[in-house]
Symmetry: C2
Subunit: 207 residues, 2 copies
Amino acid sequence: MKHIADSTVRRLSVYLRYLEEHAARGHATTSSEDLAHYAGTTSAQVRKDLSFFGSFGTRGLGYSIAELTAKLQDILGLGREWKVVIVGAGKIGSALSTYRGFAQRGFRVIAVYDNDPRKIGSPWDGQVVRSIDALEADTARERPDIAVLAIPADDAQPEVDRIVRAGIAAILNFAPAQVQVPPGVTLKNVNMAMELEGLSYALRNRD
Amino acid sequence: MKHIADSTVRRLSVYLRYLEEHAARGHATTSSEDLAHYAGTTSAQVRKDLSFFGSFGTRGLGYSIAELTAKLQDILGLGREWKVVIVGAGKIGSALSTYRGFAQRGFRVIAVYDNDPRKIGSPWDGQVVRSIDALEADTARERPDIAVLAIPADDAQPEVDRIVRAGIAAILNFAPAQVQVPPGVTLKNVNMAMELEGLSYALRNRD
DNA sequence: CAGTGTGAAGCACTTCACAGCC
DNA sequence: GGCTGTGAAGTGCTTCACACTG
């Protein structure tokens, strides 16, 4: 398939959240205008985004919420369970693993790793913290799909290398570090420091 | 000044991080090529990004690390202290407030708020959790610059409204909700669910 | 006739390529 | 000679506008 822009995929996530909220309120259909209003974009953008994957609406009528929900879930790969491992038994990892929305969407935390001997073996949000040295052997056996990296910046690249070596192809990196991955591995960065600096820039340059 | 793209501002943050790391290793100058390699972009992009704000390099030589560091800090508004309040005394807020990098860059947490009576009054990372109802009065007195929102999605919009009403002009939203702010208020969203769905999409559609 | 689906136009960001300067 | 600074060209995302259809 033709390459889809990252911005498009992010908007699909937003549309899906709207559909879920909207369905809960008992509605059966919606329009590109409604979706656009919720997502903070335009109706043309919504229709264009969806058009990359097919035509899911009815002219003159709009979109069936149930149908479009199913389509978006399928497009986003949410029709199955994804196994997630968390590397770094700290607060960020914990915030993630206890967030109900993940389980709802099929992201299941199957293991937590740390390199601190004081943490290894202790209970942690329904898991037992494992030694990071076990990652490769565990991965061969349990085949997780996604690794969430929530460790200090200095350790980020070596741990990414380990994760990649183990054969995990998707990484969500919370470490405030610029890390490299080989082709075939998908990396997303969430950098809170960068976001705050973006706000700082905006405040500094507001009129 | 001409409008600067969000992507440019984000890269400036990355450049700054590189300069800080690089200075620590004793180097005095660097080049657009070095910066590009670290940031995962091209040297032309680096030079273009910087050119929006002036010309900070020396042809044939490169950039003085000390000088460019100072310039970037100034551009990003990091030359002063920003007062931050955290709304939601949970794990995400805690992870943020204990992260050393923020204090280093001049982001100082001055208060933490929650609506849970069991949390209000108890100690929390060097603060005492305050009642969310005190936000407006406190803001009038203490003049925080930035609010970090780390609460459940359902409560997000009302709390954003309260923050805006109190007069805070920059919000970092961790709630997985699409919230609206009036013109003049800068909002950044960090949505972990969306990032994971982006990975799910990539895994689903990998070849 | 209301609202989708889509080629075409518009716009913004990135890359190129080279003049300019140390 | 080497590397910056920058107009011009290129690319890709967004918006427009309208044909189409239930």
